[in-house]
Symmetry: C2
C-alpha cells in the first residue's frame, strides 16, 4: 500500500499542485476582503472577483462563507504564534530577560512580518475585526489565547507582586494598543501630524506597555 494514498475513507488523496495554488489564491483574496469589510460586509462574489476565480471555486475550497473566514484567520495564526514563541526563546537566551524583552518578543514579530509581506498587514486588520466582535470569541480563544497564556505567565515571573488579573488586563490593553498601531496608522497621523519611522513607533509601543505594566 502506497503512503499518501490512504484507503482510509476519511482521507482524501493529496491535492494537486494546481489545486493548492488555487486554494492559496482563494485564501489570499478572502483575507484581503474580510480584512477590509469585515465578515458581514464581505461577499463571496467580492472574494471571487479578487481571486480571479469563479464563485463556485470559492465555495469548493472554502466550504461556505463562515468556514472560509475561519480558515483565513487560522492560516497565519500558527506561523504568528511560532514566530512569537521563537522570539521569546531567543530573549530567554540572553541572560536577564526583562519585561521589555518579553513584550518586544510578543509584539515585534507582527510588525516584522508585515514589513516583509503586506498581506500580514491585512491579517492584522482581520484580527482586529475578530477582537472587536464577540461573535468570534471562540476563534480568538482557539488561535490566540494559548500564546497569550504563555506570555502572561512569563510576565508574571517578572512581576511577582502583581496579581494575575492585573497582568491579564495589562496584556489585553497591550494587545489592543498593538492592533491599533498595526491597523490605524491614519488615525494616529490625523491626531498628531507626521509620524516617525515605523521602528520608532514599535519601540514607543513596547516602551509604553512595559512602563504601563511596571507602573
Amino acid at each position: 500500500m502506497k503512503p499518501d494514498q490512504a484507503t482510509d475513507a476519511k482521507r482524501k488523496r493529496a491535492p494537486s499542485k494546481r489545486s493548492l495554488a488555487t486554494r492559496a489564491r482563494v485564501l489570499d483574496a478572502a483575507e484581503q476582503v474580510f480584512a477590509h469589510r469585515g465578515f458581514d460586509g464581505a461577499t463571496i462574489r467580492d472574494i471571487a472577483a479578487e481571486a480571479g476565480e469563479p464563485i463556485g471555486t470559492i465555495h469548493h475550497h472554502g466550504g461556505g462563507k463562515e468556514a472560509l473566514f475561519h480558515q483565513a484567520v487560522a492560516r497565519r495564526a500558527e506561523a504568528l504564534a511560532r514566530t512569537r514563541l521563537e522570539a521569546l526563546e531567543q530573549a530567554r537566551g540572553g541572560q536577564a530577560m526583562t519585561l521589555h524583552d518579553i513584550l518586544d518578543a510578543f509584539m515585534r514579530p507582527f510588525f516584522t512580518l508585515s514589513a516583509e509581506d503586506p498581506r500580514w498587514r491585512d491579517y492584522a486588520r482581520l484580527v482586529a475585526f475578530v477582537s472587536v466582535d464577540d461573535r468570534w470569541r471562540d476563534l480568538s480563544a482557539q488561535y490566540f489565547d494559548p500564546t497569550a497564556a504563555v506570555f502572561i505567565a512569563e510576565i508574571l515571573l517578572q512581576l511577582p507582586d502583581v496579581s494575575r488579573q492585573q497582568v491579564a488586563a495589562g496584556f489585553v490593553f497591550s494587545v489592543s494598543a498593538m492592533l491599533a498601531l498595526l491597523t490605524s496608522k491614519n488615525r494616529i497621523g490625523d491626531l498628531g501630524a507626521g509620524d516617525g519611522s515605523e521602528e520608532e513607533q514599535i519601540a514607543h509601543l513596547v516602551r509604553f506597555c512595559a512602563a504601563g505594566f511596571a507602573g
Copy 2:
C-alpha cells in the same frame, strides 16, 4: 410670529411628543443592534423588531440604514464629550493637575455613564466598531477627534519633553485600551480568571496609561 413655528421653509414644525418618543425608541434599538452586530450584520428588520415598530417607521425616522447609523453614533457623542470636558475643568480646579488626572477625566466618564445606564455600554461597543473600520473614519473624526485634540494638548503641557507624535500615539493606545476594557470584559476574564471590582479595573487602566506616557 411665534417662535418655534418658523415660516422658514427649511424648518419643520416641532415634532409631537409621541413622535419624539418613537424616535428615541428607534435610536435605542438601532444602537443596540448595531452595537452587537456591526453595521453590515445588522438589518433594518432586526432594529424594527427590537424597537417594536414596523419597518416603515424605522425608515421614516432614520432616513435609511446609513443615516440611522450616523445618528446612533452622533446621539451620545455630544453628551460624552461634554462630560469629559467638564471632568477636565474640574481637574483644572484642583491645583497641580497631573497626567493621571487628565487621563482620568477622559476615561472615567464613559464608565460612570455605563454604570448609570447600560445603553452606554452598548454605545461603547458601537464606538469600538467605528474605531476598527476605516469606512467610518470620518465619523470618528467628526465626533471624537475634537475632544481628543483638547486632551492631547493638555497632556503635552504636562510632558514638555515628549513630541506631539508620541503623545498622539500614546493617546491612541490609551483609547484602544479603554475600549477593550469597556467592551471585552469576557476576554480579560478568560485570560486572567476572576476580575476585581470595576472601580479597580478603571483605576488600573488609568494608572497603566499614565505610566505608559511617563515611561
